[in-house]
Symmetry: C2
């Protein structure tokens, strides 16, 4: 398979060198411990997932933070809750020094979650429930079941995959190492963010403020899904993000569309027109020069992308898609910007549908930024383009004078949080050590993704801490993150515990 | 003014001839009666408006029908509830014979109302409330106020303007004539429909079934708003209508748009694309040959349209519009088809907004049919066009095999009710008699509109009854019909009572 070709060269050689200077992987011992403690681990995870953690509800987020701080204290960490300023969501920080260790590794995850109002949750998002494998997904009494629990079972709850699964894997990995008598080989710092799902508006400031506390030789980011092939991947960065909402305006009051439809502008059409002026159905962004700032894709990145196992055909079947847009390979798009239409709304459907011209309509967008792009430049390009298309841009609901003076008015508000892309070179020694550790744990080469399509606030963090960053994802790709019925397979959690335990106790460079 | 030019010729001559053969208008007496009974009239109207009448809730509709039947009985009518078949919404029928009368006039209105779920109702839609003139619209205690009540006050409730105002005007006109001792000059038939706001799915069959009961020499349709200038208009028909809903499909489950946005088709974009493939922002319909069947506009119609007072500038100001679409004159569009986008929806906005690719998105449309067009031909043209654009049309939620086999799938369902346009010649004797009666009541020439933009099920009715139809609207144009805060000005109601009283007692040809 293609990925074996990639790893058969220098990377594997490095991995083997690192392995040679290192104690054996604790994977077998950790697995035995996990097999003896599956229900206790799931019980802990259920308790963590039962705590509401919608990112925008800061009081809930703070309760999670206090709970996690206690869990780290109980595992011997010195802890702090870090904030950028009072009243902003705290990051949970914990430190565990290892006598004689020469390296310090910062393990990042986030404990806040996406909103929960999506339709279709089979059980309440903060009442974790176990279900059998897809597609049946039958409810199952895991507490009454005999062990070992079926690793294809899935625990359903908000944040199961994104990103409390990563938090639980770390906690259980620490428990496992203690139980089997293995010591960490590095100094450990833990940084669990509490506002990632609202776009990390204060996180960069928080890291700057606590730079000395947080610094280390390597940042391991435990967020995002594994490769769709089910194989462990590591990544070397994320795209950036910026988002905006638009509202367009028609008549001050709804109008009967028989009387006025041929004469009065229709916001439902205007918003569709605005969307289609920005991008095509096929994903092409129509804003001139939008990708001008993008860093050209290196040959090494192209080779790494080409080496990823082909999963697109299976994905289409699993997702019910009769086509894809953009290029044929999923990951190729990650090194370019994407303009997503999160939502479009105008007028009433269903029982309240009326033959009326609506007063306004709205659309919500996000832009994923490739390396080289900045939110400020994207804002300028979007606004210049809309202005050139005849839109008068305002920041609040327009008054009558503004409506009358302008043929097309759009209220445009940029989201609070944004970020640039983050990218660490794939060939540094710390990155190679991570790949080697995971290879020892998993028993097979790890897949390397130059950049993942999702975003995080990590670019500024990496710049502040001046450390390389490697993303180690443990969640199944089909975990419904950001959607109803978010879930994590037990197999993903078991694997994550082993991977983290390995990184804690056999990593060196 | 332009409309005087139109009426200074043959129409006015006809009107004066009709007037010469006729008793004087009862307008002055009716006005005096109304002035002495304003609070009683409003009390009756409030009682009628307090009865929930959403067209799709048949049990509510039936309660209204029984109540109205009683009101007609109390005024000496013989009555029946007519249905097309058991279980379908009833029409209230009443007949009052006038000894010696040679003409029978059928007065049509509808007593059902639009749905009520629109946002922004200042008071509940079935709790009628009086408010002062716009823009203040301050709540006012009309029961405690001294009379005369301010005619610029507005009574807010669902159906106040569309179309219980017309029903109340007829009831009060009958009361007024009785009180002042004036007899009708024609046999009166009343036909109040109970399913107009759900598109009259059974009304044509109802009229066919009861053709002998309903037949007459003239059909006066009391629905729709007055001219925007505030002047009384009469019209000679309506456009037809057909509507449809579309749903387009993306992934089976929502996807993280960072990971999948550049590769998975986005329903929010697909629905915008579908909308913009059907029409432009400026109202141009992009379906080839869509207007091929439209009857060419006659010179007489063109002249009548040109004679309407210019109200477009004031309308734009009142509606907060910085532009209009289509041609410069509002009514010019009525003789052509219009494709309206009632609603467009996909993804979540607001607190549940997520950076996700939605699973589906929908849009709802109606098409207003000009004379000559038929719903069947429109259906064919729309579906042929969408098919040519690459859409696979289905009637139910597509199964996995259908999704996988087709790049673009759209579920398309046509609304149950539809209708062709209805058009009566402007120069017939019955039409001239109506114009003359209203001119006597109002003291100024009536405006003549060849066709109004709204729809009704009247075309088939006119064909069945083989009688000319004239539309006599009494509601203020800004009555928020089909929207939140529907209302009727007291002045509109007072005028309507006088106009109906005149038509009942001084009409002859």
């Amino acid at each position: 398979m293609a990925y074996r070709g990639l790893l058969s060269g220098a990377c594997v050689a490095l991995a083997l060198m690192a392995g040679a200077a290192q104690a054996a992987s604790p994977a077998a011992q950790v697995r035995a411990w996990r097999q003896a403690n599956e229900k206790a681990i799931v019980t802990d995870f259920v308790k963590l997932l039962s705590m509401p953690n919608v990112a925008t509800t800061v009081s809930d987020v703070e309760k999670n933070a206090a709970y996690l701080q206690d869990l780290l204290k109980a595992r011997g960490f010195t802890t702090q809750l870090l904030t950028a300023e009072p009243g902003t969501p705290p990051s949970v920080f914990g430190e565990l020094k290892t006598p004689g260790a020469k390296r310090t590794v910062v393990f990042y995850a986030h404990y806040d979650g996406q909103p929960i109002g999506q339709k279709g949750w089979v059980t309440p998002p903060f009442t974790p429930s176990m279900r059998t494998a897809l597609p049946e997904a039958t409810p199952v009494d895991w507490q009454g079941a005999t062990t070992p629990l079926d690793p294809s079972w899935r625990l359903y709850a908000r944040s199961a995959g994104d990103d409390k699964g990563s938090v639980q894997a770390m906690l259980s990995a620490l428990d496992a190492l203690k139980a089997v008598g293995r010591k960490p080989t590095v100094n450990i710092k833990i940084l669990w963010e509490g506002e990632e799902e609202q776009g990390s508006p204060h996180f960069a400031a928080l890291v700057k403020k606590h730079k000395e506390t947080l610094k280390g030789d390597l940042l391991i980011m435990g967020d995002g899904p594994m490769h769709q092939s089910g194989r462990q991947q590591i990544n070397f960065g994320n795209r950036g993000i910026t988002g905006f909402k638009t509202t367009v305006y028609g008549p001050l009051k709804p109008l009967h569309d028989g009387h006025y439809g041929s004469w009065a502008p229709s916001p439902t059409v205007m918003i569709a027109s605005l969307v289609m002026s920005l991008r095509t159905d096929d994903g092409k962004i129509l804003i001139p020069g939008f990708a001008d700032d993008v860093t050209p894709v290196s040959e090494a990145d192209k080779a790494a992308l080409a080496a990823l196992p082909p999963i697109e055909g299976e994905l289409k079947t699993a997702m019910g898609l009769g086509r894809n847009i953009g290029g044929p390979r999923l990951a190729d798009g990650y090194l370019a910007p994407t303009l997503n239409v999160r939502a479009i709304h105008g007028g009433d459907t269903g029982p309240d549908a009326a033959n009326a011209i609506a007063t306004e309509a709205e659309a919500s967008f996000d832009v994923r930024l490739a390396p080289g792009m900045t939110p400020a430049r994207v804002h300028q390009k979007v606004e210049d383009y809309l202005t050139a298309q005849g839109w008068k841009i305002v920041r609040d609901t327009p008054d009558l004078a503004t409506r009358l003076a302008n043929p097309k008015v759009v209220r445009l508000n940029w989201d609070e949080g944004d970020s640039i892309a983050s990218k660490t070179p794939m060939d540094g020694p710390a990155a190679a050590a991570v790949a080697a550790s995971i290879q020892r744990t998993r028993g097979e080469p790890v897949l390397k993704v130059p950049l993942v399509g999702a975003s995080s606030g990590m670019a500024e963090i990496v710049n502040t801490l001046q450390a390389p960053m490697v993303g180690v994802s443990i969640a199944n790709y089909d975990d419904n993150q950001h959607a109803a019925n978010e879930n994590l397979t037990l197999g993903s959690l078991w694997g994550g515990i082993e991977v983290y335990a390995g990184l804690l106790s056999d990593l060196s460079w």
